[in-house]
């Protein structure tokens, strides 16, 4: 079985985000970029399925600028077999919308014919939580989102999903799209020898034109602003003082 894993290159989750002074977006110049944390979990899950003998090939795909090579090399160092980079933007500030990403991924799926696509639940930059569901729609495939447990057996996936009230388990026929949540696994770090080996693994470069996909945005960003800042509070010295402030000053007790 073949697994396709879409991985996005995003601002590292530890970096303090700054809005550009002219309000045209977030400043991504010279900031640390990493693989989207949810996508590391997806890569890890794919590799574990390969190690268990359930899968025989793991292909990582990334859409963005030339720099996304780095992210794909990370996926290869973790254990993916090969990678596809679709260069769809010149500048990191030009984010490709989930609908366009899903159309490109559909074209890749049509060519590669994987049995399973393991995507992240959400990219931590745009916080869309949409691409996997959109790809499933375009392919007419079932979807199992927000997975905290995945079991593959007999051409079906049984997936436990993190939902508002707790957990829901569903079963989907393969091929299917699964999007992964935080508690599915703990991704490994790539070892140095594997990082070296990854340099020799195949990484193919494509463009949206190769797939005949129009990536023009549907949403025009008219402004990007800092959120309202909370005004600084006060420190209290004791539980008694806290209770008195909450009763008499804030009026919430």
């Amino acid at each position: 079985m073949k697994i396709l894993v879409p991985v996005k290159r995003v601002i590292d989750y530890n970096v303090k985000v700054r809005v550009k002074a002219d309000g045209s977006g977030v400043d991504l110049a010279n900031v640390k970029m990493s693989m989207n944390p949810f996508d590391e979990i997806a890569v890890e899950e794919a590799i574990r399925l390969k190690e268990k003998g359930v899968a025989d090939e793991v292909v990582a795909v990334s859409i963005g600028t030339k720099k996304n090579q780095e992210t794909l090399r990370t996926a290869l160092a973790m254990g993916a077999d090969r990678a596809i980079l679709i260069v769809a933007a010149e500048d990191v500030h030009d984010d490709i919308e989930p609908l366009a990403v899903a159309k490109l991924l559909k074209a890749v799926v049509d060519e590669e014919r994987p049995d399973l696509v393991l995507a992240g639940k959400q990219a931590i930059d745009n916080d869309m939580n949409a691409t996997g569901q959109m790809l499933a729609a375009l392919l007419g495939w079932p979807q199992a989102t927000f997975a905290s447990e995945v079991a593959i057996e007999g051409g079906r996936a049984t997936v436990t999903r993190e939902v508002d009230g707790g957990l829901q388990t569903i079963r989907v026929g393969l091929p299917a799209i699964v999007t992964v949540d935080l508690r599915l696994n703990e991704p490994r770090y790539a070892s140095l020898p594997n990082i070296m080996k990854a340099k020799k693994k195949p990484l193919e470069e494509k463009t949206p034109q190769d797939y005949g996909v129009d990536v023009s945005p549907r949403l025009a960003v008219t402004a990007t602003a800092e959120p309202d800042v909370r005004k600084a509070g006060v420190m209290v010295a004791s539980v008694d003082e806290l209770i008195s402030k909450l009763k008499n000053e804030a009026g919430v007790l």
Binding site: I124, M134, L219, R230
Partner: protein, 311 residues
Amino acid sequence: MTVLLIAEVSRIDGGSDVNMDATAKAMTAAAQLGEVHVLVAGEGVTGDGAATLEGAAKVLVADDALYANGLAEPVADLVVGLAGGYSHIVAPSTAAAKNVLPRIAALLDVMILPDVSGIVDADTFQRPIYAGNAIQTVRSSDAVKVLTIRTAGFEAAATTGSAPIEAVSAAGDPGLSSFVEDKVAESDRPELTSAGRVVSGGRGIGSEEDFAMVEKLADALGAAVGASRAAVDSGYAPNDWQVGQTGKVVAPELYVAVGISGAIQHLAGMKDSKVIVAINKDEDAPIFQIADYGLVADLFEAVPELTQKAS
């Protein structure tokens, strides 16, 4: 312009019913866009609650076993079948809607607008990005706008209306997925996203047993219980208690953070709370930068004392 509002349907007391709080908040946003029709899809649902929502011109009820568990494929097909004639398709930003609405949008060949926190006009919306570190304003050029509403940002619509109810027939069964089981914890505590008070615990609590201390404080205050990701990952608290960028977003009158450091991913889910209290033994913990009242203390002493004195 007519808006289709997809009601949040939850399992309540063994049956299915509309989650009125989430739906009423999304109604307030939807009503700014035009006349609103509410769709209630589930098994054994009536539409009676939705009909009372101020702003509803009509309630459509799709009562069918196909929709009993909110599976994405049949629900998306139902909505796409009804979508003609609507300018906007709106739902509260719940796990169920985040699952289904992007699928609907892609089937209609339009973008999704997730987690809308402000409506500028019928085409222009505000939404947080980067864990709420920036607020983006976007204008959509799509024929139909598909959006989920961040309920913490909107008041609930009143329930004094009486809209007519119409049955709609189910769409076909795509047969792509099937329901196995739910593990849903029943609780007498207020629901996290609608509670007026929330007490959350973090990794500082140290164990599942000691997390009971946080629950006791919550019960003394009549509050819902929340948790940081670290507390959930460590097994101190169930996944549906997680507050943050990738968990639930809350904005209660009072939020008490116990043994939580205040990572941006956590703040993303609670920084719009009216009054924030932080209890942490580290005076440099970032949570104190956004807290209205900070107490530097060992939580094992402060929390029982607060519980006793606040009850």
